[in-house]
């Protein structure tokens, strides 16, 4: 066991890198997988992007300048790899982002590893209506448990813009969930 700074030293030391990288995988594999999964939606896609992400992390370790935390740096790589995947997918399949957003739910329900009930599907429906940036920021804060300043570092956006996007998304989600609950209670 060691502190983050000691751990980074081990990662940067070529002799200790192999062992430290295995520990890095143990610590971050799930975190990055779930971060990626919420962007690319299906398990199959998330698996591909996760592999590319860790490969990129390994190759870039020598260039890690410690200007941000290890956590933020890896999320930034994972985010970029996910966007790269979406962008290439868009090139092959879609004409616009609107198509991708519309495709969100169709992709989700065809994923064999989506096992959501009616309420979970409704939450996805609400998430799909959000602008992509707001959705990503909401998910990074709410599910990935990143701080606002960490999200700002990952996306390279002003922290106030991040807060604005998050609260706007949270407000929309809350309003929609209340409407769904009201609908379920009254049947109207």
């Amino acid at each position: 066991m060691t502190s983050e700074s000691d751990f980074i030293k081990r990662l940067l030391d070529q002799k200790q890198r192999e062992k430290a990288f295995k520990t890095l995988l143990d610590l971050y594999q799930k975190r990055l997988y779930w971060h990626i999964r919420k962007i690319v939606i299906t398990h199959e896609n998330a698996d591909d992007v996760l592999q590319n992400t860790f490969l990129r992390i390994y190759k870039s370790l020598a260039n890690f300048k410690q200007e941000s935390s290890l956590n933020t740096w890896m999320y930034r790589i994972a985010f970029h790899e996910s966007i790269r995947f979406l962008a290439l997918n868009k090139k092959k399949t879609f004409d616009s982002l609107h198509d991708i957003n519309n495709h969100y739910l169709n992709t989700l329900v065809t994923d064999p590893f989506f096992d959501g009930d009616e309420i979970q599907l409704k939450l996805h429906n609400i998430l799909a209506t959000l602008p992509e940036k707001d959705r990503q920021i909401f998910q990074m804060k709410y599910y990935d448990d990143l701080q606002f300043n960490e999200i700002a570092d990952v996306l390279n956006i002003n922290v106030n813009t991040i807060k604005t996007s998050y609260y706007r998304a949270a407000k929309i989600i809350k309003k929609n969930i209340q409407e769904v609950e009201l609908f379920n209670e009254t049947g109207v």
Partner: protein
């Protein structure tokens, strides 16, 4: 950006990450109905380590993508060319040509070196380089600028 902080409790960072990881599957299954295949994370860990091992064996980045190797090849070609033409003694007009050569900028030389080096590379490999890096990067840039950050301006106007 600030430098990372040193944690006083050495176990704190690890235990925090470890305990958070354990909660993730439950959170995503409960809230979003997302699941993963059984033993996925142990299988995936091995796959990632194998991929990295294979990359290291193949000496990492393919030579075609390393422009320094291109430049080295170009440099060798240039030295060979100069050693072949060296025996000629400079005449008046040759001296003028030499002056012109010296006046060529460093950028032009690099560009020419790249062109010479590219002669030694198979055309299909060059196409693959262009597709994989230049086209990909421009698509990603477009995606991020046009689609992902298009409402930043709205945010700025609103607040």
């Amino acid at each position: 950006m600030k430098k990372i902080e040193n944690h006083t409790n050495k176990d704190e960072w690890f235990s925090r990450n470890d305990s958070f990881q354990k909660k993730l599957d439950k959170i995503h299954a409960k809230d979003l109905g997302l699941d993963v295949p059984q033993d996925y994370f142990s299988t995936s860990k091995n796959d990632i380590l194998e991929t990295i091992h294979a990359e290291k064996k193949s000496k990492g980045i393919p030579k075609i993508y390393n422009k320094f190797i291109w430049l080295a090849a170009a440099g060798i070609a240039l030295i060979m060319a100069l050693s072949i033409f060296k025996p000629y003694a400079p005449s008046g007009s040759d001296l003028q040509e030499e002056t012109e050569i010296v006046s060529i900028s460093a950028e032009q030389l690099i560009e020419e070196d790249m062109l010479i080096a590219s002669l030694f590379v198979d055309e299909s490999q060059l196409d693959s380089y262009v597709d994989q890096y230049i086209v990909e990067e421009s698509i990603i840039d477009e995606y991020i600028e046009v689609y992902f950050f298009d409402d930043i301006l709205n945010d700025t106007l609103l607040f």
